[in-house]
C-alpha cells in the first residue's frame, strides 16, 4: 500500500492508500474531512472541489498518490480559525445554499474564480465559470449573487 504525504489545511499528513484511491476518498475516508462531497461518478458535479497547490481541482478526478507532496486546502481549512472566509460569509448572507451539499464545492470553486478573474465579476462571467458545479436546490440565482458579493469582500482586505 503506497503512502501519501501531503499538507492538508496546513497540517502534514501521511496516509496509506490503494494505488487507485481517489484524492476525495482519502480526504473523506482516511482523514475524515467529510466536507468535501461526492455527487457523481463522471467528474461533472463539482461537489468535490478542493484546492491543490493553489488551484481548484475536482478531487474525484485525481488519485491520492498524485497529491504526494501537495498543499491541499479543503472547505474545512478555508476559514481563518473562527473567522470565516469572506466567500463563506457571502454564501450565508445571500442565501447561496439550501441543502448545503453542493456548497463546499461551490465555495472552493468561487474562491478560485476570484483568484483567476478578479474581484469585479459580472453575472455572465460567474455563470460561465460555474460550468463545472451543479446545484439542484437554488436555481443558482443566489449562488451567483453570493459569488459577486464574496468577490468584492475578498478585495477589501480579507485573505484570499
Amino acid at each position: 500500500m503506497p503512502t501519501v504525504t501531503m499538507t492538508v489545511n496546513g497540517r502534514n499528513v501521511s496516509v496509506d492508500v490503494e494505488p487507485h484511491t481517489l484524492l476525495v476518498q482519502a480526504l473523506r475516508e482516511k482523514l475524515r474531512l467529510t466536507g468535501t462531497h461526492v455527487g457523481c461518478d463522471t467528474s461533472q458535479c463539482g461537489a468535490c472541489v478542493v484546492h491543490v497547490n493553489g488551484r481548484a481541482i475536482k478531487s474525484c478526478t485525481m488519485l491520492a498518490v498524485q497529491a504526494q507532496g501537495a498543499d491541499v486546502i479543503t472547505i474545512e481549512g478555508l476559514a481563518n480559525g473562527s473567522k470565516l472566509h469572506p466567500m463563506q460569509e457571502a454564501f450565508r448572507d445571500n442565501h447561496g445554499l439550501q441543502c448545503g451539499f453542493c456548497t463546499p464545492g461551490m465555495i472552493m470553486s468561487a474562491v478560485d474564480i476570484v483568484k483567476r478573474k478578479g474581484n469585479d465579476l459580472d453575472e455572465h462571467t460567474i455563470r460561465e465559470e460555474l460550468e463545472g458545479n451543479l446545484c439542484r436546490c437554488t436555481g443558482y440565482h443566489n449562488i451567483v449573487k453570493a459569488i459577486a458579493a464574496g468577490a468584492k469582500a475578498m478585495k477589501s482586505g480579507a485573505r484570499a
Partner: protein, 788 residues
Amino acid sequence: MSATGIGARVRRVEDQRFITGRGQYTDDIHRPYETRAYFVRSPHAHATIKSIDKRKAEKMPGVLAVLTGEDVAADKLGDLFCGWMVLSKDGSPMKAGSHPALAKGKVRYVGDHVAVVIAETLDQAKNATAEVKVDYGVLPAVADLRKARDPKAAQIHDNAPKNTVYEWVLGDQAAVDAAFAQAKHVTRLEMVNNRLIPNAIEPRAAIGEYEPGTDTYTLWSTSQNPHVLRLGLSAFIGLCPEHKFRVISPDVGGGFGSKIFIYPEETVCIWASKKVGRPVRWTAERSESFQADAHGRDHVTTGELALDANGKMLALRVKTLANLGGYLSTFSSAVPTFLYAPLLSGQYAIPAIVCEVDGVYTNTAPVDAYRGAGRPEACFVIERLVEVAARELNMDPAELRRRNFVTQFPYQTPVASLYDAGDYKASLEKAIQIADYKNFGRRRQESERRGKLRGVGFSAYIEACGVAPSNLVGQLGAGVGLWESAEISVTPTGMVEVLTGSHSHGQSHETTFAQLVSDRLGIPMNHISVVHGDTDKVQFGMGTYGSRSGPVGMSAIVVAVDKVIAKAKKVAAHILEAAEADIEFKDGKFTVVGTDKSAAFGEIALAAYVAHKFPTAEIEPGLKEHAFYDPTNFTFPAGTHICEVEIDPQTGVTEIANWVAVDDFGTVINPMVVEGQVHGGIAQGVGQALLEGCVYDDSGQLVTGSYMDYTMPRADNLPSFKVDYTTTKCPSNPLGMKGCGEAGAIAAPVALINAITNAVGHEDVPMPATSKAVWHALQKTERRKAAE
C-alpha cells in the same frame, strides 16, 4: 416586525455547518466495524432469473455474505408496497405487482436489485459482485408507455393484464359531452410530459445497524420522512416491531420527492445488518441514482377545451396515459390520479371537467412523486390549452385568462378541489406590470432586427399543497393520515426545543421554525433549537413533501406553542398572585392586566420546573406540550409566471430573456427562504422544459444514465429571476400559510413552452425543447408559411 419575527429575512441558522464543511450527511457517518454493501443489478430490462451461482463470490477476499431474493423470502421479509389504493372505474382495486427487496424469479428494469454483496471494503464488495453468476432468461421488454398495452407487449406482472395498473376517472363525463356539443370552439392538444430523473446532488445512502444486546435496529438514511420509513419497514415489510427500530435522517442533500420512498437498498442494509452481525453501509453511485431512484412525470395526454363565442370556458376533457414503471413505488399510484386531476381546473371556472387516467407498467424504473408530483402535469395541460385557445381565437392570452378566472371563494371545482382563497387577477396584473408586457411588441421587433425570434408565455398556475386532511385522503385510498406533529419542550432555564415531524433537506426549517417560535414566545432565536429527523427524539411525523412543512408542520408547532403559553399562564397566575384570566402574555412577558406586575418567560419556565409556588395536584410541574395538527383542507398557492425567450433561428438555441414570478403563498415567514424555493423550483421547471429528458431505448436500456447524457440545468442555462408576491391568507390554518416548495417547478415548464411556441409560430414543440427540437419546429413553420 422584529428583526427575527414573521416576515423577516433572517439569515439561516443551519448555514454555519454547511459553509464550513461540518454538515453530517449519511455518508459522512461511520459506525464501528461497519461493512460495505454493493448491489448486483439487472443489466436487462426484463428477464427471468433462472439461477444465481454465488459460490465463487462468497469465497472472495473480505466477503461476508452474498444475499439474494431467496434469502429475503426465507426470512419472510415482506414486499415493498404502494401505500395508496386507487380504484379503477369499474371499482376494482389497482393491480399491485409483487415487489421483493431483492428480485425473485424475475427482473423488471435495468438496475433492478438481483443480489447484494457485503464485504469488509467497497472494493472487495465490488470485485465480488463481478463473480456472482446470474443466468438470465431474457424476455422482450416494453419501455414506451404508449406500447405498454399492445396485445403483443411483454407481460410484466402476472396479475396486471395488458400491463394496466388501473383505469381511473374523475368528473362527470355526460356533463362534459353535453357542454362540448354546445361549444363554439374546441382547442385540442396532444401533450407529452417528459420523464425526468430527480438528481438530488446527494445520492441516496443508508447505514443499517443491529444491536443484539437489545434486539434493536438503527437505520441512518437519506429519507425525507424517517417516521414513515420506520412505519413502513416495521408494519408492512415486517423487519421488526416499530419500537425496536430507530430511523435517523441526518442532514440530507436535497430530496425533491425522490427520498420519500421506501427503497430496496435501505431495506436490504437494515435487514442484512442482523444477518452479518455488523453495520452495513451503502451509498449510491450516481449511475445507480439514475437507474434506481424513482423517476418523475412520463405522461401522454390528450386535452380538449371547449369555449363559447366569448371565450368563456365550458368544459375540459382530459385523457392521460401514465407510466408507473416496473413496480409501484410507495406513493406512485396517487401521483397521476389524486395529485393530478383535481388541479385541472386551474385558476378557471370551468363548469364541467372529466379526466381519465390509465396507469401502466413498463420495463423502466418505478415512477413516483417528483417536485410538484402530478400538479406540474396538470398545470401543463390546462395552461397549454388556454394559451393555444387564445392564439386560435386571436385573443390576448392574458385577457382569455381574465375572462375565466374564479373570483368567488370558496369555489368548488368539478374535480373535487375546494379552492378556499385567492386573487388570481391580482397576481396576473402584477406579473404583467413587472414583465412590462405592454412593450413586448417593441422588444420583439428589436429582436427581429438582430435576426432573433422573441416569444412570451404565461403560466397562471394553481396547486394543492399542505397534504393533507386525514379523513379526506383516507376516503381517497391513502394508507396513512397526513397530519403533522410537534412538541415544544421548554427547559428550566427557558430555552426551547422544537421537535418536529417535518424534515428539512434544504428547506431551512431550523431557521423558519425558530423564527415562528421566537415570534410567538417573544424570546430570542438563539434560545430555540429545532430537532428533526430522528424517530427516537421526535415522537412521530409524516415528513416533508408536497409543500407541507409550512402549512401543516408549522401549524402543529403553533398549536403546541399555544398550549405551552396556556399552561405557563396558569403558573404565572400563581407566581404573580392574580387570577389566570387576568394574565396577559406579550413580547415574552406575563403581565397582570392593568398593573406593572410581570414575569419574563424564562422566570415562569423556571417556576414551572421548581414547582414551589403552585399546587401540583392542579398544575403538573414542567413545561412541555405536544400537538397533532390535522388540516381541514388542502391549501391552494397560485400565481402567474411570465417568461420571455429569444431564439436564434439558425441554431434553434433558446435563451431565456426574462422571467417574472408573482406568487400568492399566503403568509410568508422568511421571504429570503421562500424566494430561494421559488428560484430552485423554476430552475427544475426550466430543466424539464429545455434540457432534461430521460430516455430508454426500445429494449429498455437507459440511454441517459449519467451526467454525460442527461442534461442538468447549469448556471449558464438560467437567468436571474424576478420574484414578487401578492397575498391572500389561507383560511384553513392558523398562520394563513399556503406552502411554496413546488410552485416554481409547477409553473415553469408550461410558461417556457408557451413562450417558445409563441416565438417559433408552431405549437408542436416537445419537452425538452432542445435546440434540435426548436429548429425542427421552425422548419415546420417555414413549410407552413411556404404552403400558405
